[in-house]
Symmetry: C2
Subunit: 412 residues, 2 copies
């Protein structure tokens, strides 16, 4: 079955908003045996109808996001009804739900908001528990004599779309594509190797097997090796991958390195503390994004200023004066202090220059020292250079820090 | 001029990777007077050629990302050459650059990597300072008798594409679209109002002016109101917006709330400290994403465990025992302690239940207390409920915290 995703919204093309729907939806369709063959974004307005017509001519299932709201630039509902020749009628239950929702928030119901209660003939309403605009499911071939795919119209805001997708869309899709045999997808996350090195190490063996689809994706400081095949087909390939990649393999199921670490530390009953300067809290944020992080992470210090390194962590003022905040000595001291202050088994510390300002010839933008202290008394420090923008610097530096911890607990 | 963006990569459709190129490129084209009229994503493989042919039939400029690397699933270069009937030949300079780059990293040059040195006849090489695969610019109508748009082939990894875009693509586009009059785009970020309330407050006045294009975008806890018009056309509308929205308007140029706050605090010579439990460092991370944050943010505490609240911040153990960590009292104490420990003018503290675990009937998942202490001695605390997933919870809770600080410094 051919699936297309059509995202509507001028904000996506103007660049104000990053489109997260396409990947979010792609991930949820895969277990059903469905893959998105094309994703299109068009601005609000007449282009919606044109793109919907094109997708409908190619696909069995079309998932449309956005343009269901109350404002004048929301026209997806009307565009779909017009394309399929369906009349729109107000749905009493939807009208009531909108009224109740607004009343609970103390907002007056206005005429314009009732556009959201209009439903094309033959469509099923998909309730929205996080907003006023319901989703709509228009079954295939709903108009006599007109071939059309299964069309889902879904709200634009992720916190409205996502629960609706899980609650209403997935069950409907499960019925639509009942007979499909789901493929299995495994993502092997590799650190410390380039894309072509990964292919060199494992690719020839893998591509010899026609039952396996192999893909590569280079990411900051890591490469994703992706295998897709029928259930059971991936087992022999996995054995070859494990042998060839060794400790450069972070995880097998596309698990983020922080997820792997939290799971591993829980298993080992160990804890980690963090002391961050240049990464400003991102390391703690990444660790605490993982459910269950509270079992292994208790203390984090964002010591952005020198006086914070002294007063909050206990780094020696003379050490800072002698070596400067961005130094191997201060990184190591920060890690040691965080370890003791946090009564932790491991402590990671970062100090560096995220930029764009603050660099010197001796200590340029992008320089970072990353230290890992452990309760066995050992502290190691790594110097790295990530000369890039501020955001990417924070990402790469925390990635390198997490990888130091990963290697430390790998064989424990 | 019609511009289309074509993103290639199975990982984007499988959902492993979020497509950030589309919005990033859209944002950079606007100042040239260019807007993306359609963005398409297709998987690696033959669909690339098909989609490129379609985009080429509609657009004057086509920007293609991905599929230029060394692995076997990278076929964009070959697909474009084939479509346009261009022969590929190895470029000596590119070959040399690849060799040097690999030598510096101690990697052996392999035959497969030299695919990246192949250049279609008539194309211009766009140097890649952050990877081996160069970009390519194929001018319009490069093949006699065949109408084709300006085609740019760009690498997939953002840290390779972005500098190349700034250094090479924008200057070339500037030449291609020299005569265009750039439109002006202003984004008014509004908190505390729904999308239709914003339209009710300002929309009628705005839509009466045919020279202005109005758009709305609902985001977590905020609404973006977008105006586009010729230079000068937006001034009268802006006056009306300022009057109608008052202090619910966060910023006028799509500035993030954290950017506004850092700029404002720098202006006021004030500082802010943070104490985070449930948001695990995201608040500090957001503040430190803003260049110049070190001038206003010095101390951040991620006190994820009760003992961290006691030992790192100095919250009273009896207070925690009496009210529990998730309470108005503890939030206020955390803010007060962070203020003193950080010698700051303001301190924000959050304590709550991010979920998915840890909720009770009295204190459900999503509950959060947000306190703001200021050096004038006043501490305010707000109770909120964001019943959603862990990631969105962290986003919404930090957004609410930042808005408390924003309002506190608005009229200072």
């Amino acid at each position: 079955m051919i699936v297309e995703v059509l995202n509507t919204g001028s904000e996506l093309l103007l660049g104000e908003v990053v489109n997260t729907h396409a990947s979010w939806i792609g991930k949820r369709l895969f277990p059903l045996g469905l893959r998105v063959s094309r994703q299109t974004t068009v601005p609000d307005g007449p282009a919606i109808r044109e793109a919907l017509a094109e997708s409908s001519s190619r696909a069995d299932i079309v998932l449309v996001t956005g343009g269901l709201g109350p404002t004048t630039d929301d026209i997806t509902r009307e565009a779909a009804a017009e394309l399929l020749g369906l009349t729109l009628a107000e749905d009493g239950q939807v009208r009531e739900a909108i009224g109740q929702r607004l009343a609970a928030r103390g907002i007056t119901l206005r005429e314009r908001m009732l556009r959201q209660a209009m439903v094309p003939r033959g469509a099923t309403v998909l309730p929205n528990h996080n907003g006023t605009a319901p989703g709509l499911y228009i079954p295939a071939n709903v108009t006599d004599g007109l071939q059309s795919p299964h069309i889902f119209l879904l709200p634009g805001p992720p916190r409205e779309l996502q629960p609706m997708f899980e609650d209403s869309v997935l069950p409907l899709l499960g019925r639509v594509c009942g007979g499909l045999v789901p493929r299995e997808c495994r993502i092997y996350r590799v650190v410390g190797m380039g894309e072509s090195e990964v292919e060199q190490a494992v690719g020839l063996r893998l591509s010899a097997d026609p039952a396996i689809e192999v893909g590569y994706c280079a990411r900051p400081n890591e490469v994703d090796l992706r295998l897709i095949g029928l259930p059971g087909a991936l087992e022999p390939a996995e054995a070859a991958i494990l042998e060839a990649l060794g400790d450069r393999l972070v995880s097998r199921q596309g698990e983020e390195i922080e997820e792997w670490i939290v799971r591993r530390l829980i298993h080992l009953s160990r804890t980690v503390a963090t002391a961050e300067s240049c990464t400003g809290g991102l390391l703690a944020h990444r660790l605490t994004n993982v459910p269950g992080a509270s079992g292994v992470f208790r203390h984090g210090f964002v010591t952005y200023a020198n006086e914070a390194k002294i007063s909050d962590l206990g780094v020696g003022a003379e050490l800072l004066a002698a070596h400067g905040a961005v130094s191997r000595e201060v990184a190591s001291a920060m890690a040691g202090c965080a370890l003791r202050k946090g009564s932790a088994d491991y402590a990671l510390a970062l100090t560096g220059i995220a930029g764009p300002g603050g660099g010197t010839a001796a200590k340029p933008v992008g320089l970072v020292f990353i230290a890992l202290a452990s309760s066995t008394g050992e502290t190691v420090c790594r110097e790295a250079r990530f000369a890039t923008d501020r955001g990417t610097f924070k990402q790469l530096a925390t990635q390198a820090a997490l990888d130091m911890l990963r290697r430390a607990v790998l064989d424990k």
